[in-house]
């Protein structure tokens, strides 16, 4: 039989936190419990320790959303998987790149591209509207808005996590779920989009949701659908 050396008051005083959290085991536990029964100071201290344990293990009032943090980490991991992209430029190439940047400020180029795309989008939309007959039917109105994304979450995802995922992505549910678990979601801050196009907010939302592993399926953007429709089955003309 293994005989534990007898513990004195000072040693037991040091062990009280683990008597309080329930992790003191075996002979040490037995000795500590016996000592506490006969020692008023240790009994008082044990009560304080248990009180502290109870306070620190009470349920958290603040809720943490791991989704956005995890996304950042996965981007970092993906970045590491592409070391070539992070390779520093050699001095000569750096000089050429600096010169090119002088002539083509990236911000300006993006702005110009955006304005051009928006302008062309508006022009095509107007031309398309003019080519349509001037009446409307209820069947056309029933078609889903281009500002709604349809998606399905992982089947085992708890409701709370769906809620957190949507909040973190900046989405709100506008449709569903239908019989097969498909939801329609839209950006919390919707953007303006010309007919046949999608807003940058919706595009960004789709990218965020598509990058989340908890989203099992997400439909292509409406603009892509419209192009597919135009290339394939056009509605018969009256």
């Amino acid at each position: 039989m293994n005989h534990e050396p007898a513990l004195g008051h000072d040693e037991i005083w040091l062990l009280l936190p683990w008597l309080a959290n329930g992790r003191l085991a075996g002979a040490q536990r037995a000795q500590a419990e016996q000592h506490v029964r006969g020692c008023a100071a240790c009994a008082q201290e044990l009560a304080t320790q248990r009180h502290t344990c109870a306070l620190l293990t009470e349920p958290e009032r603040v809720s943490y959303a791991p989704g956005p943090s995890l996304r950042k980490l996965m981007e970092r991991i993906d970045g590491e998987a592409r070391p070539a992209a992070a390779e520093p430029l050699r001095p000569a190439r750096r000089a050429r790149a600096a010169l090119a940047a002088t002539w083509r400020p990236p911000g300006l180029a993006w702005a110009a591209t955006f304005v051009l795309t928006a302008g062309l989008g508006a022009l095509f939309a107007t031309a398309y509207r003019w080519s349509q007959p001037e009446y409307a039917t209820y069947t056309t109105a029933s078609r889903a808005s281009s500002e709604v994304l349809h998606l399905a979450f992982e089947r085992s995802l708890p409701v709370g996590e769906v809620e957190e995922l949507l909040r973190a992505s900046g989405a709100r549910v506008v449709e569903g779920p239908d019989g097969s678990g498909i939801f329609g979601v839209a950006p919390v801050a919707p953007g303006a989009a010309a007919p046949g196009t999608v807003s940058p907010q919706l595009r960004a939302l789709r990218e965020r949701l598509a990058a989340d592993a908890r989203v099992r399926w997400i439909e292509p953007l409406a603009a892509a659908r419209a192009e597919a429709d135009a290339a394939g089955a056009r509605p018969p003309e009256r």
Partner: protein
């Protein structure tokens, strides 16, 4: 959101399996492990700083190491001890400045935080959080690892990479300082709070 938990032997086996899958590059397993620990680590670290961006940085640095070093996990310790050990080392680096500040605070802080009697356990819990924030991080973390996360003395020694006696000494000093800062811990809470001697 409900925190996913795997308690007991099954939980340990489940976490060990997740780490083995992470070692093979399984992203789903990595995400599951991340979600499993995020809340625990966030709560653990947020006692050292109110800056959530710093907490998030430490958590992600921890899991960056988990992703890269999962292959090195041999199961000699429990998964939680291994992961908390990484988090502890990351936190110690991140909060070094806070440690110096806490030492200074403690030198000047000889008086209790408050002389009032707490009406509820919630109020006392807030004061306790303030008192913990005034301890040096080594002591504050030891308190949390013991009281909040329920680790044994040997496990805390493994996480903090120090002798068992150092853990006992850190807790001893932390207890004395908490007693000085918050004598109300020794008294039962009035008003029907949950805290108290079981």
């Amino acid at each position: 959101m409900a925190e996913p938990t795997y308690r007991g032997t099954t939980g340990v086996a489940r976490e060990a399996d997740l780490i083995a899958r992470v070692a093979e590059g399984d992203r789903r397993a990595f995400e599951e492990l991340y979600n499993l620990y995020h809340r625990r680590l966030a709560r653990f670290l947020s006692r050292l700083t109110r800056r959530y961006d710093v907490v998030e940085e430490v958590i992600n640095d921890t899991f960056w190491v988990v992703w890269r070093k999962a292959r090195d996990f041999r199961g000699d310790s429990q998964p939680s001890t291994w992961i908390l050990g990484i988090a502890y080392r990351k936190a110690r680096g991140a909060f070094r400045a806070a440690a110096r500040l806490a030492e200074q605070n403690l030198e000047s802080e000889r008086e209790p935080l408050t002389t009032e009697t707490p009406a509820t356990s919630e109020e006392l819990r807030d004061w306790l959080a303030q008192a913990l924030a005034q301890l040096p991080p080594e002591q504050s973390l030891a308190v949390q690892l013991c009281y909040e996360l329920g680790f044994s003395c040997e496990e805390i020694a493994s996480i903090m990479n120090c002798p068992v006696n150092t853990v006992k000494t850190r807790l001893f000093h932390a207890r004395a300082k908490l007693q000085r800062l918050l004598p109300q811990l020794a008294q039962p809470v009035g008003g029907g709070g949950k805290a108290g001697t079981p």
